[in-house]
Subunit: 249 residues, 6 copies
């Protein structure tokens, strides 16, 4: 009895879809079926916080649709984890995960302290907010920037690799025991990095995939699912109907 | 030479508009011109985090429009401060303020420690995140809930008053020196409260109005405006044009 | 191809072994083989910190033995997580998990804030140290004590249940969204609790079992394992041989 | 109906008085009347903490005098904010502000994170205590020292400018979005700095002036003034009379 | 070769002098010679922060005088520790200690967590600032107020005792392992309290006496004395002479 | 009437015994009698956390033996403070101290901020945990590593000295006012260091010796001893007898 997971690439471009799909296929459990979806329009990367804000409604819509189509889990495929908490609020049974949260739990289990490699320093304040929200403030050593945008990572793969290794080595020098690649577009770099560095390097796409599988299995055997109290307390259905907010239903 | 301010009531109802307009008129500076706007549709309160998420794009659209109409400042009229950081990111010259941030700066100047009165406990996690983001974690004594929804506050004003006073008295007992009414619908209660309690009681609507006036005047004499570095670094205009994100332009 | 896990009940009594074994069998994945072991002598509970200290060497010995016997993972079956970091330091390939760490990761994913129910207040300072070490200080609402010792929980199950529910209800009132039963002897209570309370109640035995399965699967597909840098950097084998510390080899 | 503000330069020298007066005149609101006063004797700078301690009684005396002379507000003109809390304790109606507190509120509104430029590293521990007290510990990126004393800043203005810019650029590199000039003698540098750096540079003299005007206007429209509870609870007048502490009356 | 210590009771009254002197005589080491001094005028208690501020210059003057009279150590006899850091800045060889700092070091050695009993809640904010400054924020469980002023403690000793015990019992219930009597006028209560409560109860007068003896002995055998770097870097003598600040010389 | 102290060098080698004994003799009080003991077997240094774990039972055994032999105090001679809390739990009357705790209390009294010099970066995570546990997180500037093992420090004393001075100078540059030599094998370096650096350099062996003498004298005059509540609540003797845990009796 398999697990059905939807990976949302919340961008108005499908350039990453195939790469991501192949990547997920490689690391998923045997019983998992995985689909990847991107958006018809909208920003083609989410480096700016206003971009994030305007795609969240679409993310929520797609998640509710996936829930109705009986996906067991959905992955919000951006390291800013956009809409993660809002999606859990309106979810009825689906597991919702996101790369940053998943990566932080794994990283802080595999070592005492981690660093996060980012594309640009602009990304740091929002990610820092998430690190604090998830409770890992004291586990974070540093953010290290490679000064590349989301669409630059795969332009010159050797240059990217060189910068990632340099950033990671500095992070280790500063006290990091684990390094996280802080972008879902950084697909395909972690294996060589951990070979070179001799420490775990977390790939956020795989982290979120495996965390989704874990939470689905956990839910099946124990019934553990997102608390309905306070943070994830859902809005009343009557309101959603009355105010014509059917995307949230 | 006056100041032009737009107060956005980010709800799909205009039931609060007139009350809020009259209230703002009473407390504004002589030279300030104030307008109030609400939305044509959407949720009629923002107690749920998914409601917040889906109105932020409309908030951003209205703010950009106000900027083009030469408003000096805009107030995002909800104590969750929805879209505050995103709006500052895409602003070009307009001052953007919001009630929670404004109230916290004022409250922490008038006393060492404050408490925030909320309608329901559901509101706490998101507000707590804002308190932490704004840097006031150590100044917060407690959230006190009166267990009333946004649309309940003015149903039985005496009952509301009774609950607010009880909550405030407990807060003072716990160490609060200032109390903040944590909802923009709690219009018209602070004066009687501070008379009864003998401590400053911050009304978030007035707080945001006066903070907006302050920041506009500050900007005029010093040029101080939101930093364009990191958090508020704006997206490139070419992208906005290319991807047809004209609401952010 | 199955997973082989050893659950160590680090006590000088086998009274919990059968109950624990049956419990683990019920919640394990189909492919998992699970064994339970306790010690021949030593303290019969670990409520005191000196008890913990004197059993850690034996825990380490048993873990190294399990590693040689090709167990994929070992669970240190006490909510104080005794020897967790030391075991990871000397491990060569085995996954080492413990109930508190596992429960905290799961609880903080299912809700923003959790409380931990303990038997006696004496337990709190050491557990608090672990909560801080694991990075979850800001997610913890409170410890709630039911004033029962490890061997009391199953004496009068109804009384225990009553106290657990009372403690959990107070925790929710204080802001907890998830509750953790903070003792591996609290086997068999979570399901009824979560039915009554309507929130996730984490059982630490199951949490550690599923977290062990998760980390083993993660390791198999990605090679992610405990970092050898700093915290878990292992001692040189020559020293272990020269100083006759063969239990650590 | 104008606002009357007294700027206290708490030094036993009037060398800064004229420069400060002219500076304040340039940035004050049209309706504000501003006076500057310094002391007849005592230390001529406050770089040492014992200097600060011995001038506070004189600061309090001058503030009480200003209150009786119907000043609306008083500014304690040193970035250590000496006597700020004590003055508010004994104030009866006057607004008391100080440069560090004012600057921090403004800086943390204009950006997420700020750095403070100081003259010498000796200044840091006391300023850090204030940053923590005001609640902005998490917003501070760093203190940057230019290794110049209070009376050195205007000796070689180009050298000072060069050092300020270098310090500010390093601060931005470290994550600062706003920079604060951490001395009231650093008059006249911010405009060129923010032109060169492209970020807001806060001048503490102007910050305190505008914050004073803001709090006076706020008080006039809402009655908000310093809480009389706990921190600012005033001593009983009988005691002041009985013990001949008339400077505090 | 004995130790000469001066205990400063920084009040404009000698009503506590004899009681304090007798008390110190009882607990001092055999070789210690102890003197007690109070002030000719000024506030007769220091419950208000402005009172504290105006006596600090006199405290500094007396400390410099004691240093010249070859006292080995001086105790600033108020639990607010007024002038402690300033005195260390201008000290040349004398050991300066104060009750709060001394008590906190001892309390946090004897147990993990402590509570501080205060006379009135007004005292809390300033003491809290000291607790944070000294680094013991995480060790503090609570402040407990007995709602008595400094001069009330010895009016009805039985009532005081009753209130202290009640406060201490609540503190233990909240997690305190040690209790500190947070006022130097609370002389003579700790022994009975610790007999009744079965936990250490720290008397701040004795704590500061023994800490002074400890630091003097430490200094004699190792040369360890207050660092001259940053916080305690002393002002240049030329300035003190030139500006006629001879009290600081 | 003298004080009898046992210094435990918790290593399976006596190479440090004589050096340590001579060192302690030089700094002890006249009335103190000091003995040094090391172990018959086991690890010859404690740089790895598993080494620490396996020697703690022997440390506890030796401490209980010392208590029966009427030692007034025992010093656990390793800067990791191994077994400190467990020993206090089972102690009946003996004072138990350890170098890190002792050094931190002294260092944070002599200056606002300190740095700790370590041999290797591997040591940092465990020491950091202790710094946090003891409450000094905010006082710590940095750990500085000289990249030498415990048995290397005395191989080339000049090289060690050079590295210590370099590390200390960097620490001061970063804000440290006091420096702690973070290893009990760093005997004999502090005096020259503090002469060169002009700041207090804490030797942890002397620090623990003097702190032990201090706590013994304190106990004699006031009865203050480790709290029996929560953290140090001792196990019931019946259990120790019944389970044959006589080493803890």
């Amino acid at each position: 009895m398999g697990i059905k997971i939807l990976f949302i690439d919340p961008l108005g471009t499908n350039v990453f879809d195939e790469m991501t799909k192949n990547y997920l296929e490689k690391y998923k459990s045997k019983d998992t079926v995985i689909d990847v979806v991107s958006f018809a329009g909208g920003p083609q990367h989410l480096e700016y916080y206003s971009y994030v804000a305007i795609v969240i409604p679409e993310i929520l819509r797609v998640i509710k649709k996936a829930e109705k189509e009986n996906y067991d889990a959905v992955i919000i495929g951006c390291f800013y984890d956009p809409g993660l908490h809002e999606a859990r609020e309106i979810a009825k049974k689906i597991i919702v995960v996101a790369p940053c949260e998943s990566s932080l739990h794994i990283a802080s289990t595999l070592g005492e302290k981690f660093s996060i490699i980012v594309g640009r320093k602009k990304w740091v304040p929002l990610m820092m907010k998430n690190v604090v929200t998830y409770g890992f403030r004291d586990k974070l050593v540093s953010f290290k920037s490679v000064e590349l945008g989301v669409h630059d990572f795969h332009k010159d793969v050797n240059e990217t690799k060189k910068r990632l290794l340099k950033a990671a080595r500095e992070a280790v020098e500063e006290g990091a025991e684990v390094v996280i690649n802080g972008c879902t577009a950084l697909v395909g770099f972690f294996e060589e990095m951990q070979r070179e560095l001799g420490i775990p390097v977390i790939d956020p796409v795989i982290a979120s995939l495996k965390y989704a599988e874990f939470l689905v299995q956990l839910n099946k055997s124990t019934g553990w699912w997102f608390s309905r109290k306070y943070t994830y307390e859902p809005p009343p259905e009557e309101e959603l109907v009355k105010w014509n907010l059917k995307d949230l239903l």
